[in-house]
Amino acid sequence: MRIYSLFVYVFLYTPIAIIALFSFSAGRSASQFEGFSLKWYGRALNNPFVMEALGNSLLVAFVSATLASILGTLAAVGLQGIKGPARSLFDAIIYIAVMIPGIVIGIATLIALVTVFDVVNPWLASVWPEGREPPALSMGMPSLIAAHTMFTLALVVLIVRARLQGLEGALSEASADLYAPPMRTFRLITLPLIAPAILAGFLLSFTFSFDDFIIAFFVAGSETTLPIYIFSSIRRGVTPEVNAIGTMVMLASLVLLVIAQLILRRSDKS
């Protein structure tokens, strides 16, 4: 059993080790090691396109995860009190949002928005005051954030609602005991209780958005996120720069995880 587990860990980490190993290669090839060097780390950090892609990815992930956490939590709380066909319809839409493959979401969003823009842009141009450049809607960061928020919002609804269902009895009792108005009950009792679920939803959303390639591939327009940059690099013939980026992102996530653990432990003790 133990040996088996060990094998699985070897399976999980061999590709990672290879990625990390070649990130230190001095040569141009990502599959032949030609002496130790840190130059690809320098290249990656000084490449404005890598930095911009990283910035875009972080921004999209942060904004969409935040929006999804807020809207998703509100919806989950509101849904507690809604019954009947409206509720079933909403549930079905959430179910579809989670189940539909990213590739379909990407394509559907692309053709829908392109079609809408084709109608809206000429109209905007016609009503825009004479002599000024009319705005033209196009695919970009806003469309990408909107698409990611849609998907992750559904995730947050599911996670927070599961938590709320677990608390149902306790919550109604507590609020009845307090004779408290709904807002106060929510702020003082519900929110602290579902906070872990909201946090989990936020982190899951962030991770999903940060790592998503396929939706961004169709929806991001001219913007480049980190996965799009990496995909383009793989096509071009990978240099160890991509390995360096991957290794750095993984290390950064690890450091964040350790910090989060430390904070959680400290707050547990106090």
């Binding site: 059993m1 133990r2 088996y4 587990s5 699985v8 980490y13 061999t14 590709p15 990672i16 290879i18 990625i19 990502a30 599959s31 809207l71 998703g72 509100l74 919806a75 509101g78 849904l79 009190g81 809604i82 839409i93 579809i96 989670v98 189940m99 539909i100 493959p101 990213g102 590739i103 379909v104 979401i105 394509i107 559907a108 969003t109 692309l110 053709i111 829908a112 928005l113 928020t149 849609m150 919002l153 599911l158 609602r161 599961a162 991770t207 790592d211 390639f213 396929i214 169709f218 996965p227 990496i230 793989i234 990978v238 991509v242 980026i245 991957g246 992102v249 993984m250 996530s253 690890l254």
Partner: protein, 283 residues
Amino acid sequence: MTERERNWLLVAPAGAWLLVMLVLPLSVVLIFSFGERAPAGGWVPAFTLEQYANLPARLTAFQNTLTLAPLGTLAALIIAYPLAYQLAVRTDPKWKTILLVLVIVPFWTSILIRSYAWIFILGGQGLPALLGVFGFEGVRLIYTPFAVTVGIVYGYLPLMVFPIYVALDRLDKRLLEASSDLGARPLTTFLRVTLPMSISGIATGCMLVFILLMGEFLIPALLGGGKVFFVGNALVDLFLQSRNWAFGSAVAVMLILVMLVTVTIYMRLIARLSATREDVSIM
């Protein structure tokens, strides 16, 4: 403001968002699927069932997907279950968290980069060269369905380990002790106690992996060498190569239908297998 109004107000923003970014796009796809390809590519309005009539042209893509997705899910389950069991039941609590985290960490490197590493490992200078040393000459791994399956299992293993671990971890260890105290052999204990108690985790893990595999595009593209063709690859080609938005929309509609049907059947099946229904639902 009545409570009813308040509830609706809370749901409204999320509802509006889903309407604009999910219901509207899917409706556009549905409408486009009845249209026609513009001469230079794109879409022109029409009402024709021609695109649906042409669906058999992508039959192999659907067959490949419906073969490799369940196969990949099963392979991931077989590899993940013993590990999840080991972590949940047999591991010192001190080490549990760290070992579990170690399963997830690879997940934080882009799936693109991880798959690229497999191109090297499965390529002629990787594993086949190693096998050659042991006398197995001429083994070809890269750009085969096998390579795609390895990539799939590798890519989605954590999604399988996690829910099973959670289910097994919730399991009261005293039940296992009781079972063996009552004289049950380990295998009996596993089949009669452990496995049924972890069905919910298995169901969730399989569902997650299966859903993701049905829409997979990257792994077959990178590790299949253009020869292992999923519906996802067919879709990308239809929109990015032949620019046939009408037919692409029909394929997308079909994919959604196939998924709805398989997932519904699957949920029914699991529900019948397991004692409690709520456990199974991913919702």
